[in-house]
């Protein structure tokens, strides 16, 4: 596709302080209708000769809406008259300040197929508008009036924000304000550029722009799902990850073949900026067909630029494939020659190296195939290599800085402290190592702030997280026969590893809670809750056990999630406190009586005696030394246990044995005796 920046007028109703157009005050300010008609004749001839080609015409200016709706109707009429066959291959877009938008434009813009507007917005006073603060206030009021009308008529819009010196000290504030202002968060940050005479109060350097972007990127990256439309970040990240191969005209190295600008008197230019800067004039559509304009000798020089830069200024640069030396006009403005790299290339290289790679763990590696060289233009562009091999995302090596891998815990909370402990050991050995955790219910509550976890969320659809389970396909064959060791091996920790547990927060007591609990001299916490009904013991057994303990003078409290029933007669803290408070408060108890669940792990974390009741799972695999384990005898068709490694049953389904399932075979007296022994140990 070719893009024509169509400046049918140089007239603008604004006087922005950063306007860099030097080609002003021309005698022809608005394109006469005869040139407009000629323009569509030229387009038709060009497209007729190239049946595969398409053209996008971007109404630009000046301010295109100063033309009035009638001008657009006439343009459409010319297009319909001269492009009967080729018309479907022509599309329109518009870049406008929108302040003159009114209902009168709706019909003709819709007929042109325009659905989306590129526009600009500036909060800082005195930057846009007719001049001064008053001018910008009135301009902005007109602008927001136009926006509501635009939206009501079904058009969408996005903002290009021009970063000037006035904006440099408030990047985050501007980022939030602009993304709050634009409903789709479609905001693009561009640096202000000038051909010469850079005004000191406005102009910025590439280094300043990189730091401005860097501050915003640090905020954007972890919240990028919240701000889906922010550029240059989204495009750049998509590009580095190979999601998209599209490059801006400034970076493609192919602008000689893709872009063209026409100004009101019919003069053809390399692009919109070259027209503004009065550089690279390539004839006139009044005198020459488009094909001749695209073959102008200056364009030939431009086509040679990538080959020159690759051996010269950009030799060895790993960002060549996504930069190609940057905009030739910037190079021309700075050095007097297009055969140099753009001074703004730092906004790619510096930004990626200083901010993007450290923040994301993505390391950009250039594609090595020569196919990444931008295609030279020819009449038959289809025959040229266009595809650029995708750069790859390199996972971090042991000490590397690559993208942290995603890890996916199994449902339930039983393993969370083990996973946490293993990750802690890994990060202690290698402080730069990070993981991303698939967000499972409850994990975030405990693991947020973990030093080894860079992110808790959902992985992109293209990434399969490393599953933190104990068996099935892909299970390591050399693992130790302990749950902890299996997980440690899965996460890359050398085994056998010390079976330490960890939480990424300090234990704190809520004074109100501590007063609230009816403490006795010795206190026992019972934890009947399990994620699976197969590991649950009948509440009546819990009640009888509790009664016996209470009669023996113990304070007995129940603490678990809301899924387990209330054990009558005991003091219940179920559902009243946050999981972090749960973990903290358990350290004040003398004994934990629990099934195989998170509370067994918490008891281990605090080194508190515990009696653990085991049924479908095996204490030799999951349990800890020092705990008192009661393993029920299984009489069901799954003598090896129905949960866990290679068992193949659905944990969420109740045991078909009903009330006689293994967990209900415990004698109250046995548990009571075990509790006494554990307390006296």
């Amino acid at each position: 596709m070719k893009t024509i920046i169509f400046k049918a007028t140089d007239i603008c109703n604004s006087n922005c302080i950063y306007c860099h157009a030097v080609r002003k005050n021309q005698s022809v300010k608005t394109m006469p209708l005869e040139i407009l008609e000629r323009f569509f004749e030229r387009i038709n001839a060009f497209l007729t000769e190239r049946p595969e080609e398409t053209l996008k015409i971007i109404w630009h200016g000046g301010e295109p809406l100063t033309l009035g709706p009638d001008y657009f109707y006439k343009a459409l009429a010319f297009k319909d008259a001269h492009c009967r066959e080729t018309g479907p291959r022509i599309s329109f877009d518009m870049q406008s300040n929108l302040t003159l938008f009114s209902k009168e434009y709706v019909d003709v813009l819709q007929k042109m197929g325009i659905k989306n507007f590129g526009t600009s917005f500036e909060l800082l006073p005195g930057v846009r508008g007719s001049g001064g603060k008053t001018g910008s206030d009135s301009y902005n009021r007109q602008f927001i009036r136009a926006l509501s009308l635009l939206e009501e008529e079904g058009f969408s819009w996005g903002i290009i924000y021009v970063v000037t010196k006035l904006a440099l000290n408030r990047p985050i504030e501007l980022f939030r304000t602009l993304t709050n202002f634009v409903p789709s968060t479609s905001v693009m940050f561009n640096p202000v550029t000038f051909l010469k005479d850079k005004p000191g109060q406005v102009a910025i350097t590439p280094e300043e722009f990189v730091d401005f972007l860097g501050e915003i990127f640090t905020e954007w990256w972890p919240k990028r799902e919240r701000y889906p439309g922010v550029d240059p970040f989204k495009s750049l990240v998509d590009n580095l990850l190979g999601v998209s191969e599209a490059l801006l005209c400034t970076d493609s190295g192919r602008c000689a073949d893709t872009h063209l600008c026409v100004s009101p008197d019919g003069t053809a230019w390399q692009c919109g900026r070259s027209s503004d800067w009065d550089l690279m004039r390539h004839g006139s559509i009044v005198e020459s067909p488009l094909a001749d304009i695209l073959n102008h000798p200056q364009r030939e020089a431009l086509r040679k630029r990538p080959a020159v830069l690759k051996e010269g200024d950009c030799s060895g640069c790993r960002f060549w494939g996504i930069c190609h030396g940057g905009c030739p006009l910037d190079a021309l403005a700075e050095t007097g020659s297009i055969l140099h790299k753009s001074p703004w290339c730092w906004t790619k290289k510096g930004f990626i190296e200083k901010y993007l790679e450290p923040a994301t763990g993505i390391t950009y590696r250039p594609a090595e195939s020569p196919a990444q060289e931008p295609a030279r233009a020819s009449e038959d562009e289809k025959s040229l290599p266009r595809a650029r091999p995708r750069p790859r995302m390199f996972p971090a090596a042991a000490g590397g800085s690559g993208e942290p891998p995603w890890i996916g815990p199994i449902p339930g909370m039983d393993d969370v402290l083990m996973v946490s402990g293993i990750l802690q050991q890994i990060v202690e050995k290698n402080p730069s190592r990070r993981f991303k955790l698939v967000n499972k219910a409850g994990y975030r509550d405990i693991l947020s702030g973990h030093p080894a976890i860079a992110e808790i969320g959902l992985p992109p659809r293209t990434i399969d997280p490393v599953p933190l389970d104990y068996g099935g396909n892909g299970a390591p064959s050399s693992c130790q026969e302990r749950a902890y060791q299996v997980l440690a091996e899965r996460l890359g920790l050398e085994t056998p590893a010390a079976e330490t547990l960890f939480v990424p927060f300090k234990f704190e007591d809520d004074p109100y809670l501590m007063k609230f609990i009816p403490w006795k001299a010795r206190n026992i916490i019972i934890c009947p809750n399990c994620e699976t009904p197969r590991k649950q013991m009948n509440t009546l057994i819990w009640e009888k056990l509790s009664q016996k303990l209470i009669e023996a003078g113990f304070g007995v409290m129940q603490l678990a999630g809301m899924k387990s029933g209330h054990v009558r007669g005991v003091y219940s803290l179920q559902g009243l406190i946050h999981v972090r408070q749960v973990i903290s408060v358990i350290r004040h108890f003398d004994l934990v009586i629990t099934t195989h669940n998170l509370f067994m792990q918490i008891a281990r974390l605090h080194k508190i005696p515990a009696v653990v009741l085991w049924g479908p799972t095996d204490h030799r695999f999951f349990g800890y030394q020092g705990h008192h384990h009661l393993q029920s005898r299984r009489t069901c068709p799954s003598p090896e246990g129905c949960i866990g490694r290679r068992a193949g049953h659905i944990p969420a389904a109740a045991c078909p044995m009903g009330d006689s399932h293994c967990m209900n075979r415990f004698e109250v007296e046995t548990i009571y005796q075990a509790a006494q022994e554990a307390l006296n140990r």
């Binding site: 909060l123 009501e152 304000t177 202002f181 919240r226 967000n439 959902l458």
Partner: protein, 282 residues
């Protein structure tokens, strides 16, 4: 603009004049609830809700059997003593009553949780006084992530249902306060864009019959820009991280900062978390 729902006082002559609109009828007395609902429905009109504001706490209200099947928005200052309502909560849950409670009182946050846990839909009303932000955050977590069954707690439920990454969510519809969906009428049929404007006498039409297409109305058009206009005068909310889910409703005057800002940012995070959880389950 789609056809708005009209929020109007219970007045027979006024109801007779209105056609072609869904209605929210505001009554002053409990005794009028079923009467108003009957009259609207028997005239073949769509009743969206009966709205009643009470100065009595919930425990002092006698729920009537003939409210059965009538959607009721009941605004009360507080729940009152739970022991006095405990044996009637089942009845309240069976009726289609949504209980509106001022969020500024901390006990109302607790009451909302209790009522929701007993299957009564609740709705927090944010006004000029700030709520206890931490307690509000707890309630938000309960409303979105509480694993035991409970009734919706608004506005969190509405927000969770309407959240889309990057998009603004206006939850004014929860309070019938969104001029894109609701217009407010006084007893004379004069039309305002909100309850507040109705009370101030700021009408966009002197009669419902003169309303025409609201989107053509200059006052309506200006109202669309009210929120955006905040961006032009440096309002403290415009750079707030939680703006898109608050839109100034937690503290439109900017006085509640930084409590409201942190709370709105929390809410945004919770909504994202909730959305991810839904996607994960899907």
């Amino acid at each position: 603009m789609k056809t708005p729902t009209l929020v109007c006082p219970y007045s027979r002559p006024l109801l007779d004049r209105i056609a072609g609109y869904a209605m929210v009828v505001r009554v002053d007395r409990f005794a009028d609830i079923s009467r108003a609902a009957d009259e609207v429905r028997s005239a073949g009109k769509t009743l969206q809700c009966v709205l009643v504001e009470s100065e009595m706490p919930l425990n002092a209200i006698d729920f009537q059997k003939d409210w059965q099947g009538i959607p009721i928005a009941l605004s009360v200052p507080a729940m009152g003593a739970f022991r006095e309502i405990a044996d009637r909560v089942r009845q309240l849950a069976d009726l289609k009553v949504h209980v509106y409670l001022p969020a500024a009182k901390r006990e109302n946050l607790t009451a909302s949780r209790m009522l929701a846990s007993l299957d009564v839909t609740c709705c927090l009303v944010f006004d000029s006084a700030p709520p206890h932000w931490e307690a509000l955050a707890d309630l938000m977590t309960y409303a979105l992530f509480g694993s035991n069954p409970h009734a919706p707690v608004e506005p969190f439920n509405y927000l969770a249902e309407h959240y889309r990454a990057g998009a603004d969510i206006d939850w004014g519809a929860v309070y019938f306060d969104d001029s894109a969906e609701f217009l407010h009428l006084d007893a004379d049929g004069r039309v305002a864009l909100s309850w507040r404007e109705l009370c101030c006498g700021a009408f966009i039409a002197e009669d419902i019959s003169l309303l025409g297409d609201p989107s053509e109305n200059a006052l309506y058009r200006n109202s669309l820009n009210t929120r955006r206009a905040l961006f032009l005068n440096g309002h403290p909310c415009i750079a707030c991280e939680g703006w898109k889910v608050c839109l100034g409703r937690f503290g439109a005057d900017g006085k509640h900062r930084p409590g409201c800002a942190a709370s709105a940012a929390d809410l945004l995070g919770e909504l994202e978390h909730y959305r991810n959880q839904q996607l994960e389950r899907a």
